[in-house]
């Protein structure tokens, strides 16, 4: 082929690159590996992740749920995973119809009217929601209320730092773990939005209806973030409570933990704000024969047309992960989702009751919960959980000292349908056994 186009060597292909810029050596990356060697290498690395094989009570924004076998089967169909963004609708109807179903499911679950084709994850979806609230209201003060996932708040901070948005934090109530009265003092007619997470970072369910009323009374929007999307199977939808924008992390819907990604952000809002929504949208369309199909639509919001005036710089969605979530939701269906949510809540109640009965342990927040709760140990939580892992081979939860220096003894426990009663009992025994051990005692 080189000769057919009149060249003698591969080097001549790169003549438009100045010679002094061409790499005169081989890259210093490893030599090629065979399939056998490569897999062995990755297996060795995987074996150095003991956290992956353990019975676990870690949640805090990423959740271990049952994934029906069909999900990975469908996601592995190359017609889906080796396709691009559906720019040519005539040969992309598979992807487009899936996204249309995804948008519908997101609307149904969040109680909203319009949803997009997905965002990178829950945290970036929240940041985009804050930017959108500023566009919609033309106001610039945003109040983040109560216990929001600290990493979500960090992401929002990064996004708004140059956007002329003032981000204020209203603290949570130390007794309930829910939103405190501090919000009322901060709220005024300059407020663009109230941001709240429910269930919140400590697992407590917030009173969204009351927050929506407070927000709307001053002309602000209510943005609700959901990190545990399974809760939508049991709790009143944010839309029904009056939310204006709902974002969620969709990882719980059939997506493996995979050390934090790829996950999928859900983003939904009211019909009247549809043209302010970031990201891709799929809509119904018809051909000349009147056959129904689906296309990417309302593209005039997007950067390839609007350039710097676009609603967002987001160009891709998380197509394949949105597919996984769609397959999950359709397989589990209406009753399956309800059942998973119900089992989570009841098993969590069982675990919370058992742990609160251990001598020296307490549950500091009184707010109602879904599948996560904070435990206060009589000893340093990080040490306790470390010993639980090494001695009992259980990951008992998340030491809150990771994010809150003033909570050395607190840890967050998450229980899902995956965790059997026997596993919960082992956790309880482990906690009480280790905390009785003298040398880990520290004054609390």
């Amino acid at each position: 082929m080189l000769r057919q186009i009149g060249l003698n060597s591969a080097e001549e292909l790169f003549e438009s690159i100045p010679k002094e810029l061409r790499l005169a050596r081989n890259l210093n990356t490893p030599a090629a590996l065979s399939e056998i060697e490569l897999l062995a290498g990755f297996e060795r690395l995987a074996a150095r992740n003991p956290g992956a094989g353990r019975s676990s009570f870690l949640g805090a924004g990423a959740y271990q749920h049952y994934i029906p076998t069909v999900v990975d089967h469908i996601v592995s169909r190359s017609e889906f995973f080796t396709a691009y963004t559906p720019y040519q609708p005539e040969i992309s109807q598979g992807t487009l119809q899936v996204i249309f179903e995804f948008q519908t499911l997101v609307c149904q679950l969040t109680g909203m009217e319009v949803a997009n084709a997905s965002m990178y994850d829950g945290s970036t979806a929240l940041a985009e929601a804050v930017l959108m609230a500023e566009r919609v209201t033309r106001k610039s003060k945003v109040i983040a209320c109560g216990a929001i996932h600290p990493e979500y708040l960090e992401v929002v901070n990064t996004y708004v730092q140059h956007a002329g948005i003032e981000l204020i934090h209203a603290d949570f109530d130390r007794g309930t773990g829910q939103i405190s009265g501090a919000l009322a003092e901060l709220l005024d007619d300059k407020t663009a939005a109230i941001v709240v997470q429910s269930p919140n970072f400590f697992g407590c369910i917030e009173d969204l209806t009351s927050l929506a009323e407070q927000a709307h009374a001053v002309g602000a929007l209510l943005i609700v973030a959901v990190t545990e999307a399974i809760s939508l199977g049991l709790l009143k939808s944010p839309g029904a409570c009056g939310a204006d924008i709902v974002v969620a992390e969709g990882q719980s819907f059939g997506v493996p933990l995979s050390f934090g990604g790829p996950y999928v952000g859900l983003f939904a809002t009211r019909e009247k704000h549809a043209r302010q929504i970031p990201g891709r949208l799929v809509g119904e369309a018809y051909d000349k024969q009147g056959r129904r199909g689906f296309v990417l639509t309302l593209a005039t919001r997007e950067q390839h047309i609007r350039r710097e005036k676009a609603t967002s710089n987001i160009c891709t969605n998380e197509g394949l992960i949105a597919l996984a979530a769609t397959v999950y939701l359709e397989t589990m269906g209406r009753r399956g989702l309800q059942e998973v949510a119900r089992q989570c809540a009841l098993k969590t109640a069982y675990a919370a009751k058992r742990i609160s009965e251990i001598n020296g342990f307490s549950i500091p927040f009184s707010g109602p919960r879904f599948n996560e709760f904070v435990v206060r140990a009589p000893v340093k939580a990080a040490e306790l959980l470390g010993r639980l892992a090494s001695e009992k081979n259980i990951t008992g939860g998340l030491a809150l000292s990771r994010y809150f220096a003033d909570r050395p003894n607190d840890f967050l426990v998450c229980v899902t349908e995956i965790n059997s009663r026997a596993e919960i009992d082992v956790l309880v025994d482990g906690l009480s056994g280790i905390s009785k051990h003298k040398d880990t005692k520290t004054p609390s």
Binding site: A46, S56, G61, S78, A83, G261, G283
Partner: protein, 524 residues
């Protein structure tokens, strides 16, 4: 159809309703173990007013076989890389190795929680670290963050780093004067959108008739000390290498600005030339383009941000670092075994976090596997093949289509519909007709500066025979445009659905399914 189409024949296509239209009350497709703890009313746990009160009405009720048939049928309506050439310019649709899929599904990675302690995740952190090292070598830029989830996200990160650097260098007051980002008129639309997100206003640089950055215009725009930086794609979106790249970087640097390179077209450079050696300060890569992680019908991507030592303190946190307990020296087996990897949050000048956790980790595994299976020589060979294939198409189509720029292209080539418009056939029609020949169309109407642009990127994953089939198909369409324009204007003829009325769809958007009796269209 009178043409002799070699790549496709018509095949069976099933009709398939929306899942909501298939749903039947009472059907289920799941089974969970029975509840093994005490059952009591949810009302005892959660106040009634916080509970769902619509019984999740509308969610589908179907069986497992319904689900499998539903998605399998829909999947057959998609074109995909596995069916053949997917020459979308600037998208780098190369083969996605199954081996990489297997790696990402190893339970030790797939089941690992992102908040697992460092001790519990050493293998996962080592993967991130090693990939960072390889990308640093490939780009010549030592500071890497794998946190951004996509190209535009990496771009936003890069531009924020430029802003943070200038704020720190000049002080807030002086840097407030430096809020202009220069972007060539040929750039991806995400560039200006990302610049805007970081509080920059955009000035557009003209391209020369040769399709390169206009140096005189660049110099002119750099006067006055307002320029924070330049966002440049190289090779640019016309597939041409900016041969004056060193001079361009010099001009911007002399004006006090920094150079950001959009790495979307890195598939033309891997193993051949490094942005760091050209004077570029910061770049994003697309692991889903250059490093073959699957596009997934529009994501997930992964858009690492790579920068100079000078910009490193501004990268997102946490950084993943290695600590080597054995004293410095030649790396040995023993030293490597004692390495530990940790999260480092101690970068006070960091722009902050751009995503929860560590980014799209599953994509990092696949990209590392790609780099390891290719080896250093294989990476260069892939680049050579990608450029050779584009060059072959450039030559093969020159007789039938207008090539707006003389220069030899790198990994992608742009043609226009100039010759075909005389018969009323436009780029869109050519693209749609190409579908009948069994190919995914090229990128169309981009870059914006070329009227009727057709941007073709074959990648290295296409063989000689399929390239010839593609050239033959395009030539055949050129003939049809003269002899039977109607055939082209009404294409595609072979798909299960014809051209859809996109204008009507945007006027009255229907963005979700609703039950028949309640169906209304969005009033927006």
């Amino acid at each position: 159809m009178k043409s002799n189409i070699t790549k496709v024949t018509s095949h069976i296509s099933h009709n398939e309703a929306l899942i909501f239209e298939r749903s039947q009350t009472g059907r289920i497709g799941y089974r969970l173990p029975p509840l093994d703890v005490d059952e009591f009313p949810i009302d005892d746990l959660i106040p009634k007013e916080f509970q769902c009160d619509n019984d999740l009405e509308g969610l589908p009720e179907v069986s497992e076989v319904d689900v499998i048939r539903h998605f399998t049928r829909m999947s057959t309506w998609n074109y995909s890389i596995d069916l053949g050439m997917y020459p979308l310019g600037s998208c780098t649709m190369k083969y996605n190795s199954r081996l990489n899929e297997k790696v990402a599904r190893i339970p030790g990675f797939a089941n690992l929680h992102p908040l697992a302690s460092e001790n519990d995740a050493q293998g996962a952190l080592q993967v991130i670290y090693e990939l960072q090292e390889h990308l640093a070598e490939i780009t010549g830029l030592p500071g890497i963050s794998l946190q951004p989830a996509a190209g535009a996200h990496g771009e936003m990160t890069g531009v924020m780093i430029i802003r943070a650097f200038i704020d720190a260098r000049d002080g807030q007051a002086a840097s407030a004067q430096r809020r202009t980002m220069l972007i060539p008129d040929s750039a991806h639309g995400t560039n200006p959108a990302s610049a805007h997100l970081s509080g920059f206003s955009v000035k557009t640089i003209r391209s020369t008739p040769e399709g390169l950055t206009d140096l005189a215009h660049l110099r002119e725009l750099c006067v006055g000390g307002h320029v924070a930086g330049l966002m440049l794609t190289n090779p640019n979106t016309l597939g041409l290498f900016e041969k004056n790249i060193q001079e361009i970087c010099r001009i911007v640097h002399d004006a006090g600005g920094l150079v950001y390179m959009d790495g979307a077209n890195m598939n033309a450079l891997v193993g051949v030339a490094r942005p760091g050696d050209m004077g570029v300060d910061v770049i994003h890569l697309n692991l889903h383009k250059t490093f073959s992680t699957p596009h997934g019908g529009g994501g997930p991507g992964c858009g690492p941000c790579c920068c100079t030592k000078e910009l490193e303190p501004f990268l997102p946190v946490p950084r993943i670092v290695r600590s080597r307990s054995v004293s410095e020296g030649a790396p040995s087996e023993a030293a490597a075994k004692s390495d530990t990897y940790k999260l480092d949050f101690n970068y006070p000048q960091s722009i902050g976090r751009v995503k929860a956790f560590f980014g799209n980790y599953g994509m990092m595994l696949r990209a590392l596997a790609y780099i390891q299976t290719h080896g250093n020589d294989g990476l260069r060979e892939a680049t050579e093949a990608a450029v050779l294939n584009a060059r072959y198409i450039a030559q093969g189509l020159a007789g039938d289509y207008e090539k707006p720029f003389d220069a030899d292209p790198m990994h992608e080539v742009v043609f226009t519909d100039k010759r075909q418009t005389r018969k009323g056939v436009h780029t869109l029609d050519i693209a749609k007709r190409l579908i009948d020949y069994g190919f995914h169309p090229m990128t169309i109407y981009f870059p914006l500066i070329v009227s009727g642009a057709m941007l073709i990127e074959p990648t290295e994953s296409v063989g000689h025979q399929e390239l010839d089939q593609f050239i033959e198909a395009m030539s055949s369409i050129a003939r049809e445009a003269i002899e039977d324009p109607e055939l082209v204007l009404n294409a595609p003829h072979s798909t299960r659905i014809g051209r859809l009325d996109e204008a009507a769809a945007a006027r009255k958007p229907v963005l979700r399914w609703k039950p028949k009796q309640a169906a209304t269209t969005a009033q927006t």
